[in-house]
Symmetry: C3
Subunit: 116 residues, 3 copies
């Protein structure tokens, strides 16, 4: 069976709990070996990732999901706009030059798009 | 002509009127015979479907659209999280094990994704 | 290289600044010659395009982006619902009969969907 490929887009920091719950339920339903999941965070969603508004509880969840193969990507434009230092991001977060380009490329490569 | 296939995703109960209006306008424009439409409700959007916050007016609209072939799917995880009894859902609503899996599979099958 | 094709969907007038910033960053990253971008506005998002709530600053941005090849489409159903005269729209905005049909057709034609 081909893996179910899903890209989650988040641009609002309040949506993180919902995104992470959606991913957890998805993995539990489809099986971690049967899915490929990437989360692209741009806009204000990057505020939860580092700096003053970093959320430790959410980051614990992200780290757990990253350990199951979920990819977390943060938009460099958004990090700069919010004056966040990408060198201080947790190690399981990858920086992409532009979140929109990443989302477009992944959809072109067969990923479904979901905006929780 | 191939049917235009569209999946509508709703996870916020306040968005139901907008979703149902979008579908009605879409059917009127493209013609009911030329479209395949599924609505996947997860998160708090399931609150409008049954229980205390069930909305009779919206449900009348849904029933009318279901009669035109529109498929309404509710996420079992979301129903459980909100303590809703899936046995009491209106007959035109189908329960899917996980809304995200359903959305991913439909997109893999050629459905466009729209989040009103 | 094939162009990266992206459809942006907006149905909330407050999201215009975010949509236009996303497009600007995307063009800067991928290069204007390498992208095809269409914005489909339905729902309340059309309020920013003409009439009392038209936003001159946003429209200056839209005109600049239209000059770089970005397509702006407004849903006729939404214009009528908000009693807006489509004859008074700026010249760089195209009216489509139904926004949802346009979004579905573009995705069927290989456009990625993004809802900022």
């Amino acid at each position: 069976m081909n893996k179910l490929k899903v890209l989650f887009h988040i641009n609002d920091p309040e949506r993180w709990p919902r995104v992470l719950l959606n991913i957890t339920n998805f993995i539990n339903d489809a099986g971690p070996a049967n899915v490929a999941v990437e989360v692209v965070a741009n806009g204000g969603a990057v505020l939860a990732l580092t700096g003053e508004r970093a959320d430790q509880k959410l980051q614990g969840e992200m780290e757990r999901l990253a350990g199951q193969g979920i990819v977390f990507s943060a938009c460099r434009n958004a990090l700069r706009m919010h004056s966040l230092d990408e060198g201080k991001l947790p190690p399981y977060i990858t920086v992409v030059p532009a979140g929109i380009t990443e989302i477009a490329q992944k959809q072109a490569g067969g990923f479904a798009y979901i905006k929780p």
